[in-house]
Amino acid sequence: MSEPTTTTLDTLQIGQSATVRRVGGDGAVRRRLMDMGLVNGVQIEMIRPAPLGDPVAYKVRGYRLSLRKSEAHLIEVEV
């Protein structure tokens, strides 16, 4: 295992997994992200982007979640 590197969720490649560390943003967006289960320590996998590149589908807590890239960018992850 190599050293974990910190990046943001929108940089993940297809099939790549990461651990959520921090959810940024504020107000409704942040609240919504946390309510959907994106909190510190949760595993998340990038499934695939939409045909036009944005939004992106992820698998988290056993279900599929789609986020715009701007939203995924708010989430700090460890790869």
């Binding site: 959810v23 107000g27 409704a28 967006v29 609240r31 919504r32 992200l33 946390m34 309510d35 959907m36 289960g37 909190v39 510190n40 949760v42 499934i47 695939r48 982007p49 939409a50 045909p51 036009l52 590149g53 944005d54 939004p55 589908a57 807590r61 056993g62 279900y63 599929r64 979640l65 789609s66 986020l67 715009r68 939203e71």
Partner: protein, 753 residues
Amino acid sequence: MSQSMQTLPTPLTIALAGNPNVGKSSIFNALTGANQHVGNWPGKTIDKQQGRLSIQGREIEIVDLPGTYSLAAYSVEEIIARDFIVNEKPHAVVTVLDATNLERNLYLAAQMLELNLPLVIALNMADEAEKQGIEIDTRRLSAALGGVPVVQTIGSRAIGIDDLKESIYKLAASPQAPVIPKLNYGPEVETELRALEAHISAIRPLGGMYNPDWLALKLLEGDEELFSRLSDEGNAALVALAKAAIARVEELTGEDPELLITDARYGFIAGVLEQAVVRESTLLETVSDRIDKLVMHRIWGLPIFLMLMWVVFQVTANVSAPFLDYVDYAFSGPVSTWASAVIGLIGLGGTWFESLVVDGMIAGVGGVLVFVPVLMFLFAAIAVLEDSGYMARAAFVMDRVMRLMGLHGKSFLPMLVGFGCTVPAIYATRTLKNEDDRKLTAFLVPFMSCGARLPVYVMFGAIFFGAASGNLVFAMYILGILIAVGTGIVMKHTLYKSKPPQPFVMELPPYRMPSVRTVWRQVWEQTSSFLRNAATLILLISMVVWLLMAVPARADAGTFTDVDPEHSLFGTASGMIAPVFAPAGFGTWEASGSLITGLVAKEVVISTMSQIYVAEYAEEAAEPTTFVEDASGLVLGFGEAAVLTVQEVVNIVPRTLNLLPGLSIPEANFLGAAADDEDTSALGQVLLGTFTPLAAVAFCVFVLLYVPCMAAVAAMRQEFGTRWMILQAGYALLIAWGAAVIVYQVGTLIGLG
């Protein structure tokens, strides 16, 4: 006996809660059967579903709350669900959980536990969970949740409903709350919670209204909605205390309490899962994963999306057409004839009364009912898309494009339906969950050129441009789209600029076979809601137009209901408006008159023109029919409409395949009927004399852009209120006038006139 009557007096109220897409409505249907009614949440446009059932003689009222992931007050659904639970204090809450996705579903359940209400868990989709190899020990799940009853259900097949009823009844019979495990939010948060609770309990009316534990928790989460509500109620001091508490927690832990509390809920859930889940899903790839591979594919995703949308468009525009024609025929033919006959029998034939009933009331009712087939087909198509899980994928695929206009991926469908008919398109915005997205989409939908406007372009195109008429038609469609896109972009950067960004964050639910029952239920509810709400305004407007046409403007112009259009109040009003259109090149009372009746329905523009430009056209009376002919026409017409509907469904296949270059598969034609053309040759001659080609284009531009019709206006009012309706109509009229004038003036300037 009398004692039990005293202890159990009023009907119990039970709320049904759950995430979206967990089969909540199938549980609701299974519990209540046909005993349902639909109302509105106070001040909200979302339907409120209620139902009654009786368990061992006890009357129970079930309220189906909107599907939510959380009880944070960031969406309309969440506010409705939370307000109902907190303010109405139902006797129990049934929370429906999807057994195939227990982890995220338990997040809502955890928040229900925080409310400290009697709770029943319906562990739904038990069959699907089993198929995926998931095994959940319901007894241990119940224990981990502090003794909350847990019932396994399969809502779609009404399995487990009796057990669920029994659990509800037991809770009702012994109203003490179950022992509920306290979630542990960590020492810093707990300390502040205790302090806030003490303050809340000391404010007496507040302690009675809210559960102090819950209120303290929500305040510490920084709940803006409660902050402003409490401040309005004169408890600004408490809000200040809460904000200070939040700051203290942040200072001590480096994290805000909102995050700590959410973390604690998911921590609690992890513990529950560890105890209750015997085996997790053994599937590496579910059916949904496989469908997604195709449907969300980099290359195939878009074509598949476009094809499905095309099919939906066909369903609303063509498949509904035979029954639409049938309703039209029934009301203008047999129903009117019979009404006239009955009125003749009571000796009022040929009087204003006959005109009121036939031309006013029956025509008005027909004008409402004509929308019923198209709405039913649209609602069915949307319900299937939603319930199958595809709608979320459609939004996923299209979001990038729609975002340019400040819209959501799901806005595409209403816009597309708008090319068929604006009225169902406005209702189609219901698929959008965010109120701002909905309003903006509905604002733009009327600029999509609907099917009823097409005949106007076609007629003017044929008369003035002959073989090149296709160019005019095409240009109108493109202009409509451009105006919508432009309006969207402008609104995004002005009206909506100051609004905080709304999360797109969307679940892609598992694919499921839609059940006929739930689809039909949605079709029925939404169609009847249209009849209840929008019908009144449509009827009112058609009566007003009838009245204007019936009243002579001058004493010598004729008598009530027996007057030339030109000399009626209608003609006079049209003449007064006419100068407004002079800069657009069609400032005649005839043109503005047909535009006014176009408000009733765009289909009427041409027939009004025929009536007032070509007098003999109106005189040409229909062949008189006998009662038997009418009756058999009604019956045969229904059968014919049914056959044609099937034909249109079949024809979706060739029409779709013919979109591919080089293919031309013939369409089915079961009845061997030829397409009927409206004879407009006489009208054409007159129009050539009164319009210049440029004025004809300007007229088409106006028809494209101005208020679609009164039914669309009524739909807009039903969905978004009078203010938004007036705003849209005013904007549309202004844009339509401006565009028509620009076309005419610029055209004249560069010598096209």
